[in-house]
């Protein structure tokens, strides 16, 4: 019955605005992912009593290589992170040591934010990870959005279910709900400040929130500067760069 209903929904809404669900997902992936990108961003971690701002510079190639260097505050400056496939290393100048983050540590929050290392690492294209179903459309902030329900098609994803509100024009998930296997809402993500950058729509601000935490104000991630499809030397993604 559920399968029939979802098929009916897909038939009813899936072809709207001349895009199928798969095409929406591909378009969304194309907007969010690039061959490479270099960006400067700041993460604003809103705690109960205080707010911390952490600035960083990121170099990303595809979905498997990423290098982050933290620029401020002074306590975090010089901390670096390297992601190669499913491995993550961090370097802390205070200890002058490179540590591989693995196993349970990947579930820990990054710099006290509402994002875990796992969240940071899972940036593969959605079309490779989830099966999507169009649930309908809704108007949010005066703009039309499609509601997509995504279910994992592979094992080992942090969030096996998610619901995305895709802006019809920007083809970006302006709001997302990330669910546990049981269906419990774990996190929400929202984006705004969409700008046209190098022929693609890209948000300049993300807001992540751990929904299990009461009174959580979430973590803001503001993109200050971003450029796509740049040439990044391959030595950027080596462990030697962590100590430089």
């Amino acid at each position: 019955m559920i399968i029939w209903l979802s098929l009916l929904m897909t038939l009813l809404f899936g072809q709207s605005d001349q895009l199928s669900v798969e095409e929406i997902i591909v378009a969304m992936d194309n907007n969010l992912n690039a061959k490479s990108r270099i960006m400067k961003s700041k993460m604003i971690v809103k705690g109960r009593r205080s707010t911390r701002t952490i600035e960083s510079k990121n170099w990303v190639v595809g979905a498997n290589k990423a290098f982050t260097e933290y620029l401020s505050p002074p306590r975090e400056a010089g901390t670096k992170m390297l992601k190669l496939d499913d491995k993550l290393w961090t370097y802390s100048p205070q200890t002058d040591r490179v540590i591989q983050i693995s196993g349970h540590m990947l579930r820990q929050s990054v710099m006290g934010s509402d994002m875990s290392y796992n969240d940071m690492m899972e940036d593969r294209p959605i079309q490779d990870l989830y099966n999507a179903t169009l649930e309908g459309s809704v108007n949010m902030n005066g703009r039309k959005h499609w509601i997509l329900y995504l279910e994992a098609k592979i094992d080992g994803l942090s969030y096996p279910k998610r619901r995305s509100w895709i802006d019809v024009e920007y083809l970006l998930p302006m709001k997302e709900e990330l669910y546990a296997k049981s269906g419990k809402l774990l996190k929400t993500a929202a984006m705004d400040g969409v700008k046209k950058i190098q022929d693609r729509w890209f948000p300049s601000r993300f807001l992540y929130k751990d929904e299990l935490k009461r009174n959580s104000k979430g973590t803001e991630w503001v993109i200050e500067d971003i450029s796509f499809d740049m040439n990044i030397p391959s030595n950027r993604f080596t462990k030697a760069m962590l100590r430089k």
């Binding site: 196993g103 349970h104 942090s158 096996p160 419990k184 774990l186 935490k213 009461r214």
Partner: protein, 391 residues
Amino acid sequence: MLLKIAIKNLLGARLRTILNVFVTSFSFFIILLMSGMYDGMLQHAKNVTIDTEIAGGAYWHPNYDPLDPMSFEDSHSLIPNKIQSLIDKKDAFPVLVNQVSIYPGGRIMPAILKGIPPNQDIVKMPSTSLNSYKDGTIPVLIGKGMAQSTKLNVGDSFTIRWLDINRTFDANEGTVVHIMDTENFKIDMGHIWIPLNIAQSMFAMQDQATYVTYKKNLKEIADNTDWLHRDVDFLVKDMEAIIEADKPSVQVMFIILLSLAAMGIFNAQVLSIFRRGREIGTLMALGMTRLRVVALFTLEGGLNAILSAFATLIVFGPFLWYFSMSGIPLPIDYTEMGLIMAKRLIPVYSAGLIFSTMILVSIIVLIVSYLPSRKISQMKPTDALRGKAIT
């Protein structure tokens, strides 16, 4: 003969003897009490740990390290057949361990989740309380310490978030069904206990376990798998190490007390030799060899130790007995410091402890009695008779 003279001399010295004996017996008492307290502490910690946690011993998954929570997610597998047969005979029970995040009152906290068969009766834990709750949420048993740090009460619900075997997030509500009052912080602080079958289905680890605890007085089974046998001695090692690490500070106090007693006796001996020159000369003139005179004075000192032992028994014995019966109330709760300690600490005086303390005190007293007496061997009887003592 010598003993008779020594006793007469000791009794004749009156106040000096009383003071020496009192100081020595007080040292005796403090050493016995403090050592008894440490032995009592260790004994209590062992008993509590055995009763509530380790029973006869355990078989661990080879990757399991209770001190390294990071090891938990790789420390589970199907239970080897021979160990499983112990579980089937109800001689053992399996426990599945994993790390989770809990959200009591909306705050995130890391916790160690342990799945335990509710009907086990091998360790003294109120695990049967996990049977009593059936409202769709996960029944949770926590300790008093954990309840305090999480501000949870019986009936309170909170979210538990975990990663299953495929590293996929899952979450559900847990409800506190019972708060156990246990002295064993190792099953309390940072721990939440749930039924084993629920834990196995949560983590998608059907029939798997991290360790298996078996009954007391069972022999180790010859197991061919890589699961590790851990006996009681191994499992209480950390406890012994904590108590051993605390001993040096008390040993300093023992040294000070013994030094005080030894100084009193040493002082009395030096004074005796100085003041009892004529007596020494007379004894020598009457034919007593120097060696026997030295022996007499050493014996006098040594008798202090024996009198002290009796004085300890008579004067301090009732205190020692009282403490061993009703315990010594402790002013603070040591469980928060990571020690298993009773609210009233009951000292344990073993025969070995009493004997070794007596030997130690006696040897020290004999040494400090002999050292000044050696000077007698340098005295001339004529000088001694004239009252000329060696200075």
